[in-house]
Structure formats: C-alpha cells, structure tokens
C-alpha cells in the first residue's frame, strides 16, 4: 500500500499544483524523484512530527492541499495536539496518510505500534477515515481524499485481503445470509479473516474501507438484532457510532479489534493478529460465544 500511495501521490503532485506533501524523514527517499520535480511542494522537515503537522496547517492556510505522512503513532499520537489545533481549530484541512497500522512493525515493539490512531482521530469532528484492505484500493481513496475539501486520515497497512473491494465507502455486502441474520461489519484488511471465521454460519458480512463517516443508512438497512464489528484497530472504536445508529432498536453488539493491553511481545503481525483474537479461529470463538448467548 505504501508504494501505491507514493506512486499515486507522485502523480497527483504533477497533476494538481495545489497539492503538497509533508514528510518527517519516513518515505523521504521514495519521494526523492517527486521532490526533485517539485522542490517547493515536497517538504521533508526531518524527524519533527509537531512541525510536520504544523507545516501542513500553515500550507492549508495559504490555500494549498497538504498531505502529511509518517508512521501512525508518530503522525497521530505524537502530534495529536497539532492535529487538533493546527488543523481543526484553524479551520485548516489536510490529508494525513499513515503507515505501520496497529502492529505492522510487531518486532519493533510498543513504540511503533499504533492501534489507537482511529480512536484518536474520532475525537475530532468531520474527519473522513479510510482504511483500505488492499493496495489496489489506495489510489481511488487517496485521489478522493485529496480532491475533497475536508480533512481525511488514510491508514495504510502491510496487512491485506486477497482482493480489492469497496466503492464509495458505504457498507458492501460480501456475504448475504438473508433478512434478520446477524450482521458482521469488517473494516479494511480484516475482511478475509472475518469471512473465514463465519464459514458455515448464517451471518451476513459487509465490508467497508471508510469507517468515518460510518455508513449509518447501510447499517440500519442491514442490521438485525446482532451486530458484530471487526476492526483492525482498537477494539470498540466504532461502538459509539453503531450504538447511536441503532439507539431506537433493541440490539446486541460485539466489538472485535486490537485489545488495549500492552502485550510486550514481538514476533510478526500474524502473531499479533492471533494474540488479539483477530485470526479466523479467534474471531470464530468470539462470534460463537456471542451468538450462543442470543439463543438463551
């Protein structure tokens, strides 16, 4: 996804003189050719994330469309106050593009893990959040985010589904178990695991790569009594959205995602997927327990 982002962004810099890329060393070498062609619009501030977002805010105030890019924990967590004040409070808009989602760099340890990014962005107002599940979903999402006026967060990962899906970001039914069936909403790269998890179960599965704004209308149209959220970031991040959307209906909600506990373990992303119960077997255990209670 990262390479697709760099290629598409390099094209956008050539196509649209309003665009600018702000970097904090991460991916700076890969943007080298673009920086040579557009030295005033490809800006590497060094390892300075507060400045990364502050500069994006200043660029936006002059009418440019900045795209700021770094590792998720540095971009969103370290520079959170800059996102809140240098962008939102100024009425300045930017596109933030992260790599390293959740536990892509599992062996790097806690410092490079960023499962809370979407929850943090969700404390802000009117942000669009894109979580592509496949590299081929990235170009359209990036182009749409840059072409729009508002602020957007594009969360890139090394985790991927086998094929690209998605449309405008509304819930897309991938597996239809009929009216009233439990609804599983899978976000981004966890779709394949979710599909494998519910094999043989009468569960409808819908996919989205745009958790914000969440497709409320689609959710209300598809949801019966049981709703299961499978998100590749902090567990429960979208619970408030689903709860509010279904406030007028009796419903039960199971939220699955990355747990809050610091594991203090290294290994691979696949190990962390399993340890957080987000592999097919782990998801199946949680879903079976959730649906079994519905029958009591």
């Amino acid at each position: 996804m990262r390479e697709t982002f760099i290629d598409t962004m390099t094209d956008l810099l050539a196509e649209d003189p309003r665009t600018a890329v702000v970097l904090a060393d991460i991916s700076a070498a890969a943007f080298g050719p673009a920086a040579q062609r557009h030295p005033d619009r490809v800006l590497n501030v060094g390892i300075r994330e507060q400045l990364l977002v502050g500069v994006a805010g200043g660029l936006a105030l002059t009418g440019l469309r900045p795209v700021a890019h770094s590792y998720a924990p540095f971009l969103v967590e370290r520079a959170y106050e800059q996102i809140k004040l240098d962008l939102d409070h100024q009425g300045a808009e930017a596109v933030l593009v992260s790599v390293g989602a959740s536990y892509d760099r599992a062996a790097a340890g806690r410092t490079h893990l960023g499962p809370a990014d979407v929850a943090l962005i969700d404390t802000l107002t009117d942000w669009t959040v894109h979580v592509p599940g496949h590299r081929d979903e990235v170009p359209a999402l990036l182009r749409a985010a840059v072409a729009a006026d508002g602020s957007a967060y594009l969360r890139l990962s090394t985790q991927s589904n086998d094929m690209a899906r998605g449309n405008d970001g509304s819930l897309q039914v991938v597996r239809d178990a009929g009216p009233g069936a439990p609804l599983l909403v899978a976000v981004g790269p966890l779709l394949d695991q979710a599909l494998a998890a519910v094999a043989g179960l009468p569960v409808t599965v819908a996919y989205t790569h745009r958790p914000r704004p969440f497709d409320i209308a689609g959710l209300r149209a598809l949801a019966g009594t049981e709703v299961i959220l499978v998100e590749p970031y902090l567990s429960g991040t979208s619970a408030r959205v689903v709860g509010a959307a279904l406030a007028d209906r009796p419903h039960r909600l199971l939220t699955l995602g990355v747990s809050r506990t610091e594991l203090r373990r290294y290994g691979s992303p696949e190990d962390h997927t399993r340890w957080h119960g987000l592999d097919a077997a782990g998801l199946r255990r949680s879903i079976d327990a959730f649906l079994a209670r519905a029958l009591v």
């Binding site: 060094g46 507060q50 502050g54 805010g57 200043g58 002059t62 009418g63 440019l64 100024q90 009425g91």
Partner: protein, 233 residues
C-alpha cells in the same frame, strides 16, 4: 510601508484608551503591556495589511503565537479598523467574539487561533512555505512569541528547520520579558543564530530600534527580532 498617518503618540493614546476599554477594570499582567509597543510598530509601520486586504493572498501575515497577550492585540485591531470598537466591551463574555485567546474564525484580521504555546512558529513556517510554493514572494510572515514560550520544544523544531532551509520570508519576534523559568543563557537570539537565522536584539520599548530590527531581514535567511522588555509596565 507606513500604513497610517497617525503618529506613535496618538496611536498609543488611541490604543491605550481602547486597551482600557478591553480591561474594564480588571487586572492585566505585565505580558499584556510588554507586547503593546511591538504590536504598534508592526501595525503602524511594518505589516502590509489593512481591513480591506485582510483576505488578500499577497498580504503580510502576522501570527500571534503567545495568544494570551491578546488584550493589546484586540485594541490594535480595533484601532486599525479590523474589528468594531464595540466588540471590545465584555471581552470574554458569553456573547463576545473576543476570547482570552484569539480565534481566527471569530475575529477578522486574526491569522491563527492560539493559546496553547508553541503552535505559531510551526504554522508560520508552513505559511511561509505555502506562499513560496505559490510564487508569492512579496508577502512576509511575522510570528510573535514569548521568551517563556520558547520552552516548548515545538519551537525548536521550527527554528532548526527554517534555518537549515533558509526560509527567507519568515520573521520571528521574541518578546523577551525574562519570564522563562530557566532563562536563556547567552540570550534567546543565540538559539536562532546557531541555526542560521539573522538576529537583532533591541529594546522592546524603543519604536525606532524595533522598526529597524523588524525591517532588518536580508531576504536570504529567516530573521528573528528579540524585543527585550524587562520593566513590566
């Protein structure tokens, strides 16, 4: 570049009266008064901004980073016609557009909302870069900070980067009222000059010295003016 025919004396009197209107009997800290002279010299003689050009993309930008020094700022904006004088009454009240920190979306002429220290210089660097990227080589970006505000590390990210890249259309102004808890041994200016900025340290009460310093950039490097005000009021 002078924008008004008013003399320093009359503007001071006008601004002073307007500041009293903002104050409305409240106690103001020394930081409010220590900033007034710099603001007057900037708006009188340096900045190419008027209420009519407040949205002109080629205007100079003034970013008040030390957002708590707001009372004199509002008084100057009112004196210059950016905001109605009546707005100064009930500053901070429930119906007022003028908070204890300025909000760019509420107050005409205000370039950034500030208050949390250490945000203005980064925004100023971005603004200067954005102007340069669009070929707007005439406008200049001025950012007013305090010496205690320099404690915030975000400033040093901006100082190092602006110096290293020779961001020539940026001027930082450090209002040095010696309020940083641990001081700046060797002077605040040295933090900038070691990174390649030009610098002038002047008496923050001396309008001629301030004017000379505020127009002393060489158009090749970023420039800092340290305005020293050690006697409070």
């Amino acid at each position: 570049m002078t924008m008004t025919t008013a003399t320093d004396h009359t503007l001071s009197g006008r601004v002073g009266a307007l500041l009293e209107r903002v104050r409305a009997g409240r106690e103001f800290g020394a930081n409010v008064y220590s900033t007034l002279d710099v603001l007057q010299v900037l708006y009188d003689r340096v900045l190419r901004i008027t209420p009519e050009t407040a949205d002109d993309p080629d205007r100079d930008r003034f970013l008040l980073s030390k957002g708590h020094a707001v009372a004199g700022y509002y008084a100057v904006l009112a004196a210059k016609g950016f905001v109605p004088v009546e707005w100064l009454d009930d500053q901070g009240g429930p119906a007022s557009r003028l908070g204890d920190h300025p909000d760019r979306l509420l107050v005409p002429g205000v370039e950034i909302g500030s208050g949390s220290l250490g945000h203005g210089l980064g925004l100023g660097v971005g603004t200067a870069l954005g102007l340069r990227a669009q070929g707007r080589l005439d406008p200049r970006v001025y950012v007013l900070l305090g010496d205690a505000e320099l404690d915030e590390g975000s400033n040093h990210e901006a100082i190092a980067y602006a110096g290293a890249t020779g961001l020539a259309n940026l001027t930082a102004i450090v209002l040095d009222n010696r309020s940083a808890s641990h001081g700046w041994p060797g002077g605040a200016a040295s933090r900038f000059t070691v990174n390649g900025w030009t610098a002038a340290t002047v008496d923050g009460r001396d309008h001629e010295a301030l004017h000379t310093a505020l127009t002393g950039h060489d158009n090749h490097r970023p420039h800092v003016v340290v305005a020293v005000v050690t006697n409070g009021e």
